[in-house]
Amino acid sequence: MEEPILKIQNLHTVYQGKTETVYAVNGVSFSLYPRETIGLVGETGAGKTTTALSIMQLLPERIGKITEGSICYKGEELVGKKNAEMCLIRGAHISMIFQDPMTALNPVMTVGDQIYESLEIHNYDNKSEHELQERVDELLMLVGIPANRKHEYPHQFSGGMKQRIVIAIALACKPQLLIADEPTTALDVTIQAQVLVLMEELKEKLGTSMIMITHDLGVVAQTCDKVAIMYAGEIVEYGTVEDIFNSDKHHPYTKGLFDALPSLDEHMKRLKPIEGLMPDPANLPSGCSFHPRCPYCREDCKNGHPYLYEEEGHIICCNLFREGNV
């Protein structure tokens, strides 16, 4: 068995406000193996982005804090690392792609310079400027942009092209781990398809591991190997894509997510939304955090941690599976 490239254990992250504490991530654990893509799926406030920022150690200073747990990158503990040490890891080993390509690029720098900059920062083996410039051309070509456009400014590119440039910057130093935070949400469907296909190809070519943060189950089906469904800062269901899309055993929340989607194949008179709302992360319900919205809620769900069901790596965090039946 290969060593995991990233191992997160029992991660707890909070945002300490003036009057209240927001419990954003509550005990997330997962492992990511080389060349694997894990999808973190969930709705707004599920703690997906906070998990990513915890890995990068980019939580807002003084407010965001990791209170418990460990994040191991290749056996190296990231929690508690100093900013200077993290700078050596960020960009070079772990890169992040943000949601909005329109604001992720500096409008007064040419795209070539922006890629060059990220190469220069992590230029540990003192490559010459010429070599670095060649690498810039190579990277642009890799993401499907003609190298002669490197002297142009971000506003001269369309949204999809900008996201390609953002990807090129993220991949500049050949990171082992790429965190993509909703990389295609701001793009149109046809462009989204192009970018997803590109990311898939690049991942195969470069052997990068990836954490894909998304709310779109369609994107998950396209890109991921493993899936973690998140709700209120916890992983409620974890498994391979086959487990999530093909198995008939699911957490009620996962089931609700699938049922709420309007289908392209069959016609439904009414959609089946999940009743109620996301809980307030500053004031989480006791027991299973999904219990106030769960149609199968029982007495034992209201208190204590829900049962952890496991079957060949498919983990479901729900009391329904306590007796082994659905």
């Binding site: 003036k18 009057t19 009743e275 109620g276």
Partner: protein, 297 residues
């Protein structure tokens, strides 16, 4: 979902009045610094109103050459100036003119400038172009020069100085208000209001101005101090408030030759201007926050 909660909340269904003066006051009250500013300002206002009861106006004008440039003592609380006039009395009685010029110029300037800026920002296109270009043209002329020309043309008097400063102020407020309004005009709720038939004047009053008022209030409160100083400059050039009428800015100007040897002659009027500006500024800051329902906690 809605129906279930309907019953238990029926008794408590009280609609809060528009504007929510009480709510704003409650939020304002919680801001200690803003409250301090308000208390200070009220104190200054009381001085303005009851100046005659504190010390008679004659004292402020009485020149006693033998008593000139006396340091503060029990007889002359803030000392005397180079004509032997009691500085304390002059500050008390100068407050009226100074506040009138400072607050008056800003208030009227901001009303007219704000209206022009709102029209320019809201309607855009040609109207925007015309207003902004016209204002730019006025702004090309240095403020002092403009004020002086206007006062020279109209004749030196307190009212004319006020009028001149007001005119000179309009362009800058037009600019500020327009800049504050532009991002608001692009918001969907403006279009939403249009789509339910709200007339434009209501959209400006109800939707645009309340959402753009923050930076305008802050700018306005900061400008009051500057206006008092500017009015002093005009007085100094002999075109504004005529001596011996007491006025803070004019007092500063007269005393500047004794700044090193008799610092108290500049310190007291300076502090008076500073405190007025400070009180308004703190109050403005607090008011901006209190008007924003998003900053409730």
């Amino acid at each position: 979902m809605g129906k279930m909660q309907l019953k238990d909340s029926e008794k408590s269904l009280v609609i809060k009045k528009k504007g929510q003066a009480g709510e704003i006051w409650r939020r304002f009250k919680r801001n200690k610094i803003a409250m301090f500013g308000m208390v200070l300002f009220i104190a200054i206002l009381l001085v303005v109103i009851f100046a005659d009861f504190i010390v008679s106006y004659d004292v402020a004008l009485k020149q006693e050459i033998s008593q000139r440039l006396q340091p503060p003592s029990s007889e002359h609380l803030f000392g005397t100036d180079n004509f032997g006039r009691d500085i304390f009395a002059r500050i008390i009685h100068g407050s009226r003119n100074s506040l009138l010029v400072g607050i008056g110029a800003v208030a009227i300037g901001i009303t007219i400038g704000g209206l022009l800026g709102a029209i320019a920002g809201f309607y855009g296109r040609h109207l925007d172009n015309i207003i902004v270009r016209a204002m730019d043209t006025i702004m090309c002329i240095p403020l002092m020069l403009l004020v002086l020309s206007i006062v020279a043309a109209l004749g030196a008097s307190m009212v004319n100085v006020l009028l001149a400063m007001m005119i000179a102020n309009v362009p800058q407020y037009t600019r500020i208000v327009r800049a504050a309004i532009l991002p608001v005009v692009g918001q969907d709720y403006i279009e939403a209001a249009k789509s339910c038939g709200t007339p434009n004047r209501w959209i400006i009053i109800q939707h645009v101005i309340p959402n753009a008022i923050g930076p305008i209030i802050v700018q306005a409160t900061m400008a009051v101090g500057t206006m008092i100083i500017n009015a002093a400059g005009i007085s100094f050039l002999g075109m504004g408030i005529q001596p011996p009428t007491p006025e803070w800015g004019a007092m500063l100007n007269e005393a500047k030759n004794f700044m090193i040897s008799q610092p108290y002659t500049v310190v007291f009027p300076g502090v008076a201007i500073g405190l007025t500006a400070l009180s308004l500024n703190l109050m403005g800051d607090g008011l901006r926050d209190a008007l924003d329902p998003k900053l409730k906690d």
